[in-house]
Subunit: 451 residues, 2 copies
Amino acid sequence: MSYESYFQSKREQHLDELKQFLAIPSISALSTHKNDVNEAAQWVAATLKKAGLENVEVHPTAGHPIVYADYIHAPGQPTVLVYGHYDVQPVDPLNLWETPPFEPTIRNDKLYARGATDDKGQLFLHMKAIEALLSQEHALPVNMKFCIEGEEEISSPNLPAFMEANANKLVTDVVLISDTSLLAKGKPAISTGLRGLCSLEVAINTANTDLHSGSFGGGVPNALHALISLLATLHDDQGRVAIEGFYEGVPELSAAMREEFKKQNHNEEELRTKLGLEALYGEEGYSFVERIGARPTLELNGVYGGFQGEGTKTVIPKEAHAKITCRLVGDQDPSQVLDRIVTHMESHIPVGAKLVVKRGEKARAFNMDPSIPVLQKAADAYEEVYGTRALFTKDGGSIPIVETFSRVLEAPVVMMGFGLPDENLHAPNEHFNLENFDKGLLTIVSFLKRL
Amino acid sequence: MSYESYFQSKREQHLDELKQFLAIPSISALSTHKNDVNEAAQWVAATLKKAGLENVEVHPTAGHPIVYADYIHAPGQPTVLVYGHYDVQPVDPLNLWETPPFEPTIRNDKLYARGATDDKGQLFLHMKAIEALLSQEHALPVNMKFCIEGEEEISSPNLPAFMEANANKLVTDVVLISDTSLLAKGKPAISTGLRGLCSLEVAINTANTDLHSGSFGGGVPNALHALISLLATLHDDQGRVAIEGFYEGVPELSAAMREEFKKQNHNEEELRTKLGLEALYGEEGYSFVERIGARPTLELNGVYGGFQGEGTKTVIPKEAHAKITCRLVGDQDPSQVLDRIVTHMESHIPVGAKLVVKRGEKARAFNMDPSIPVLQKAADAYEEVYGTRALFTKDGGSIPIVETFSRVLEAPVVMMGFGLPDENLHAPNEHFNLENFDKGLLTIVSFLKRL
């Protein structure tokens, strides 16, 4: 039986199983859901076992468990390690869901539920692809390992240590992850780059109490004035970050890379209209896809101080705050970038202001050369199933664990996504287009057989 | 009997009466206290009647009532109109009060209660001064009018229309107000200037939704970046407002005025330490008292946009907001100042930003020449009772109704305050120092007799 016929014959059964998985409210961020998260881990372990995988283990951690399994019966063949996560985002605001987030429902060939595309649906494809291969051929073309966590949505606090401690067990030739998206319906993409990240919080203090602007206005510092004059120094008029040394380690875009970006053929005007923008905006000399794929940023994510209620309050705020994140590319070192921001700020402290900086998250950018064979084979697999060769893209986002996998296991990472950009991940009415459910199963099988 | 003996003999009785007045929770801002506010109006009317005033009327308005009374039996003598208010501020946070706000309590010769100094306590002095004069002399040295409102703490929405409609009834030679403070204990002051005020709210919009900084960061406008680059243009490096025409109508400080300011002898270092400031800050070339008394300001009272919760959220905010107030002096026209701010902002809109401005309150500055006889007589009265001549000061705050009184009734306004700057008005543990209760009664009697 062809794999197409096999998956067609099992489709109802597979969707019923996936609905069971999606019905478990495994929200890792909420401690009230701890038992649900654990139940999802057990469900993954049982499903891996049922698929035919061996050595299935549920490893407790300081947080939620990590599920491991393997099937090592292809001597001389490469090993593939599948990473995925069985935890999901919170569901607020609940009233915006058309059907309840943990009552999976199919409408218009889309499966609606929290986790449908991020990442239970995509993870499920790998388990069912292995089950299919073992059921049809009683053997796998490669050695397989699964490493599935329950803390991806809370920044994977326990996975790096688990990886370091179990590096021998996890040793692999390829890391395979399906937790990203196609460029658009029918347009597959393989991400070969992710931006890094660093974050910081800034507080400006000017007095020990808020002051009345009648009695003191004009005679004392205002924390908001100070913060704003400080923040205004962070960018220049051309949209560049104006911090000395910020761009160190940022590679120049080669002609070949610019060609690759051009292939993505982004319609900037359509994007502008869709997002309700007056104009796109960014560093001069770069297209939108280059700006988000290959250039670093410094963004204010939040700024606040003083009165926010209705009407007027004649207050001079004693403190003001900013939350900042940077997206990093190339060899930018997150710690060094933070140092440079702090140095810049310290040399621009306004009169009368005290500066307090709190450093936060740090992750390096991740980059792979798209010409390596394993990525070309992934593109071949997409081409076979979708009739279109996958484009190699650079993602603007950051998945710190990808860089960790690549570094600790010293293996290339294939990001073979089957989501779509508009499937509302992290938002109400998350869903998974079943066209990519069907094609995803076939693409994974094709990829594993090509290795 | 001297007035001193008279007031001494009545002291317990007067304080008991004032406590009754203070026990009425007449919070004008809270609709649940509407009956209490009305009760306070009735209390004022009854007390005015008991003092001997005639034509006592409680005028309903669209909000809280205005109490009127008069005693016109001094032909050929000037008329004095007393303005005050019987409403009080809300009391939150209640847990910071040492004794409940509406259970008046005397500790260390200070009377603690909401409204003790602002303004029930000070208003009470005028009623008891009249009662004393009529009781001792069976006549008043001047014609008296009282116009007492219950909406001062909510910006007097109905008083200006009442004043215009009853301008003939309210016609007067002097407006007398006790709703301000001495400079310090034993240092009386008469305010001859108040700053004006105008307010506006600014919103910057850049997109129809918040955007993910991974997928869009570097390629779309950020509302916070836009707002901050706009707000950063409002001041120059010398602490001056950098808006064209902002200072039009601002008088230069004369040598005489600077001498008057110097007399206030403000200890700037003590102020800096008390407020926990790194430095005082303001327009170069002016002292602290000059900056707050004679110079206009533009202050950011609140700025907000994006994420304010714990930790990091990689969001590009679609909107950002600022609340701004200006204190005005001299002949600055509040409407014109608002126009100029808006014009400035419109010519500095950052790329990709939409600007929405909402204009708010407007009040002109109020100024009087301290050399006019009625103010000198007020200073004489203070000198007689306090042993120190009152200083003529310029207040940084704004009491819009003062300018309205002066303009509509075309009469000088004598701001004869008996509070102290640290009596916690608008805050927990508001109180009134009874030294100024005693001296206030005598000062008012002395002032009225000198006219």
